[in-house]
């Protein structure tokens, strides 16, 4: 027999006023995991490939790439992508730990998500200071 939908699911109120929904830290880290992933797909992959392509082509192309990458706007974009990579990676490691049933309790989940949030910003700042 083909699978069927449950008969008449109860009608529940839909309340999706996003600014009014309180976002605890695990939920902020979760949505940023998605935002950073989307950023890495939309900008990160083409940027990384273009950069690698140009940097390996020739010393002249390497120099011209270094000049473009040295522009403040390019640096800001690069720093944004560094944040996206680091946040996504750390939040992903947290996910893997949760899959192994580590840190499932509410207090621990809040602590680790705060740690992911802060650590990603600190590492990004360290990289930003270095490349600026």
């Amino acid at each position: 027999m083909p699978p069927t939908r449950p008969v008449d699911p109860p009608r529940r109120p839909v309340y999706l006023n996003l600014p009014a929904i309180r976002m605890p830290i695990p939920s902020i880290v979760s949505i940023l995991h998605r935002v950073s992933g989307a950023l890495l797909f939309l900008l990160g992959i083409p940027w990384a490939l273009a950069a690698l392509d140009a940097s390996l082509a020739s010393p002249a192309a390497f120099a011209s790439y270094a000049a473009v990458a040295g522009h403040p706007v390019a640096k800001l974009i690069a720093i944004g992508l560094v944040w996206a990579y680091v946040h996504h990676l750390l939040a992903g490691v947290r996910h893997l730990a949760l899959d192994l049933h580590a840190g499932l309790e509410l207090a621990a989940a809040r602590r680790t998500s705060a740690a992911v949030f802060v650590l990603a910003i600190l590492i990004t700042l360290a990289v930003a200071v270095r490349i600026w």
Binding site: R34, A38, F41, I45, L52, F62, L89, G92, H95
Partner: protein, 120 residues
């Protein structure tokens, strides 16, 4: 702990396959990130000659290719989830997903071209 209700599980378990793939590709990328950071630190200064020397290692190029495949697979699962959550009209969703697949195949080809320098 969450108590599970008794329910009949149906379907072809595509969700489970994606879930596993997302985690395996993630671990591959984490390991590559550590290796690449060590390789860059080992390299010392950042100039064109040193940069080229790093990429001249066949093993590093293969590791990077493995990373690229893991990344593109991982990106597909993630972006597909996003489209399923936010794009409700089926036609629009299919068009977007098709464009994403084209982009990922394009990136795969570009990766091979860059890594092994196949230029026309």
């Amino acid at each position: 702990m969450v108590t599970r209700t008794q329910r009949h599980v149906v379907g072809a378990h595509y969700g489970l396959r994606d879930w596993i793939a997302q985690r395996i590709t993630a671990v591959v990328m984490i390991l590559y990130t550590l290796v690449a950071l060590f390789a860059l630190a080992w390299q010392g200064g950042f100039d064109h000659a040193g940069w080229k020397a790093l990429w001249a290692h066949g093993a590093f190029r293969l590791a990077t290719f493995l990373f690229a495949i893991a990344l593109l697979w991982h990106a597909w699962v993630g972006v597909r989830n996003i489209t399923m959550d936010y794009i409700k009209p089926v036609g629009v969703r299919l068009v977007v997903q098709g464009a994403v697949i084209c982009a990922l195949v394009f990136y795969t080809g570009w990766t091979i071209q860059v890594l092994w320098g196949v230029r026309a």
